[in-house]
């Protein structure tokens, strides 16, 4: 029996205004985003804390830099920094991903606070910020500029790319390559966040380690992650690099912005990354697990993408669109070998779009049409255009993909509508549903059509029950964590 009933009046509200578009090398000029999907008639928001009352209340939103600073300082008070001497150089390693959460300001504030606390506690002055990227090689440079981090770090804030010079790292399974600039200091600090993001890639196995195999890694390593290790073993690349003598000699501690589907819950910091990973795993399987399983219950819908990230990374309720593509499969369940979308899966379709092996699961059949109102290039996204009917709003947005070497073929599989209303009209015709979900980066609520809001409200208590009683214990056991730890 479900533990509670959702109060419909409290759960449904006016649509939440998403963050505005920003100028970027990878996106359309903001002036071309003329209307946001949340402004469409009939759109409402459903509050996640009403759907799942056990998810703690966030410290951000609403905007609150002071709360982030205090949470970071408090978390760092318990951390041992004695290995950092005043004469040491220190690289605070960050990732672009942190800046996609709530527009990036909370992550920027955390990074600044880490610098201040290290200086205060250790006397070290040579503190650099090194921020890695995904596949948009200038993205971190854009964030550094936007948040004036170069000034804060006294000219020592840098964007890093997997194309930059590398350094070999010997691990227990062989040689991988890190970005030289990430490791060119006496000591390193791992400054990340707990957002689940690419569950299809890391499967939430050693989630906290991932940047060592990704944003701090050279292209050879990242290629090995996606082609060499397999769909469940991929993130071992990160674990192997972290465990290496090379990294351990520089290791100090980790600081993680504690993200959740409702926003920022606080900050975690620890010298022991394994211990931190266990905390994150329990939190995420429980909180993101519920939202992901709830979205998996959607039987039919039109998806609207409307956020300042590439297509797969637009998100709703903290869940990225790429994971919704695979929501017909439980991505946390390691008994499922291949998610409907991951690069191992994408690789296994032949030229006629037939799977090479029967284990390739179909993409989420609930997605009847996709409208792209605003989403960046800089990630190979033709998979979605081939698998779903895609309508792109405006020629300028379409040109983002046409000029992107990662998406040259994208618009061959999509159509263009003059404006958002026309795109929606067309989507309703082909989808034959009035259920709409908007991936617009809003935290704490999901902007949806009223019909979908009512549907999700009805399903939430049974999803809570299913996760708490059945799925969470299974997911934890698969990751070597006794379920009792989650129920303390």
């Amino acid at each position: 029996m479900p533990r509670y009933k959702v109060n419909k009046e409290k759960a449904i509200g006016s649509p939440i205004k998403p963050l505005p578009p920003v100028p970027s090398l990878y996106g359309v000029d903001p002036k071309y985003v003329k209307k946001r999907a949340a402004e469409l008639p009939g759109i409402v928001s459903i509050k996640i804390n009403e759907l799942f009352p056990d998810i703690p209340k966030p410290i951000w939103p609403p905007r609150n830099p002071k709360a982030i600073r205090e949470a970071t300082e408090e978390a760092l008070e318990k951390v041992d920094m004695s290995m950092i001497k005043p004469h040491h150089s220190v690289n605070i390693l960050g990732s672009h991903h942190g800046f996609t959460i709530l527009g990036g300001e909370p992550y920027a504030e955390m990074l600044k606070t880490i610098k201040d606390v290290i200086e205060r506690k250790t006397g070290a002055k040579n503190i650099r910020l090194k921020v890695g990227v995904g596949l948009r090689h200038r993205e971190s440079e854009e964030y550094i500029k936007r948040f004036k981090l170069d000034e804060y770090f006294e000219g020592k804030a840098y964007g890093m790319s997997p194309l930059d010079p590398g350094i070999p790292i010997e691990t227990e399974i062989g040689t991988f390559y890190g970005i030289k600039a990430a490791y060119d200091a006496d000591k390193i600090v791992h400054a990340h966040n707990t957002d689940v993001r690419e569950v299809h890639f890391h499967r939430h196995v050693d989630r906290a380690f991932k940047p060592f195999g990704m944003s701090y890694a050279r292209l050879e390593t990242r290629s090995a992650y996606h082609h060499n290790l397999g769909p469940r073993g991929a993130n071992f690349v990160a674990r192997a690099i972290f465990n290496s003598k090379f990294v351990q000699e520089k290791w100090t501690f980790a600081v993680f912005l504690r993200a959740s589907p409702v926003g920022i819950l606080g900050v975690y910091a620890d010298n022991d990354l394994d211990r931190l990973d266990r905390r994150i795993t329990i939190d995420n399987l429980r909180y993101y697990g519920k939202v992901m399983r709830l979205l998996s219950k959607i039987d039919e819908c039109i998806v609207v993408l409307d956020y300042r990230t590439p297509i797969p990374y637009t998100f709703a309720g903290g869940v990225i669109f790429a994971n919704f593509t695979g929501a017909n499969i439980d991505l946390f369940d390691l008994d499922n070998p291949l998610p409907p979308y991951t690069w191992y899966t994408e690789a296994y379709y032949d030229e006629q779009e037939r799977p090479l092996i029967p284990e390739v699961p179909p993409v989420n059949p609930a997605i009847k049409a996709i409208v792209i109102n605003y989403a960046w290039g800089g990630y190979p996204s033709v998979f979605w255009a081939k698998k779903f009917p895609v309508i792109v709003v405006g020629r300028e947005q379409a040109d983002v993909y046409n000029r992107d070497p990662q998406n040259i073929e994208f618009m061959k599989h999509a159509v263009i509508a003059d404006d958002l209303e026309t795109a929606m009209e067309f989507a309703y015709k082909i989808a034959q549903t009035d259920k709409v979900i908007i991936f617009d980066g809003v935290y704490g609520a999901i902007n949806v059509s009223k019909s979908l809001a009512e549907y999700l409200i009805e399903k939430a208590p049974e999803v809570d029950e299913e996760v708490e009683k059945k799925l969470l214990p299974k997911w934890l056991k698969q990751r070597g964590i006794p379920p009792e730890e989650a129920y303390k």
Partner: protein
């Protein structure tokens, strides 16, 4: 698959500081450079991938749209398909398997390029378009396919377009598999899955 080349890189020498970074990362070796001189682009080889554009420290490179896109493509029918299958299988790939998600290039096309004479990742990129989208994700399949054909290229000094091969699941030692299994790394099952794909050749 074909790679449509819609752009080409152009260098603004008024901004260029002759550092050679563009030369060091170009995936097709389209850029020539000597210390102290401006880099030069061979437009026969430039596929407009934007590596130089995105990493130039002085923002001296721009991408210009070509009046007409050109096509890069390898014709698999020009080579013995049994040899294509053999190279792919030895490398641990199904010939139909996509190895570059940006260009949609399949393992069979890389194998065909090798059979048609390509001996380095750069030559393969020029013939197939691989490594010219994101510039990151497909180097390992390229190196694995070259090795399966008996070719082990060495990276050129001072360039860092690529360094070398990394481990695969097929080489993960038994003790490592056992040590990490309880954490959720299912190496044995993943290896079986990958082998199942290869067995379909």
């Amino acid at each position: 698959m074909v790679r449509f080349v819609a752009f080409r890189a152009e260098i603004d020498t008024s901004k260029c500081v002759k550092c050679g970074l563009c030369w060091s990362i170009c995936p097709t070796e389209a850029i020539s450079w000597k210390p102290g001189s401006f880099p030069e682009i061979n437009y026969e080889l430039c596929l407009g991938c934007g590596a130089c554009y995105e990493r130039c420290p002085r923002y001296a490179v721009t991408l210009k749209r070509l009046p007409e896109p050109r096509i890069v493509k390898v014709d698999v029918s020009k080579v013995d398909y049994n040899k294509v299958k053999e190279i792919c299988k030895n490398a641990g790939f199904h010939p139909e398997q996509i190895i570059c998600f940006c260009t949609g290039t399949r393992a069979k096309e890389v194998a065909a390029a090798i059979l048609l004479g390509a001996k380095t990742p750069e030559e393969i990129s020029r013939m197939t378009g691989v490594r010219t989208g994101c510039k990151v994700e497909c180097i390992q399949p390229v190196l694995r396919l070259l090795k399966a054909a008996g070719i082990e290229p060495k990276p050129k000094p001072k360039r860092h377009a690529w360094y070398g091969m990394c481990p695969t699941v097929f080489e993960v030692p038994k003790e490592v598999r056992e040590k990490y299994r309880a954490r959720g790394f299912y190496f044995d099952e993943d290896e079986s899955l990958l082998r199942k794909v290869i067995a379909r050749v």
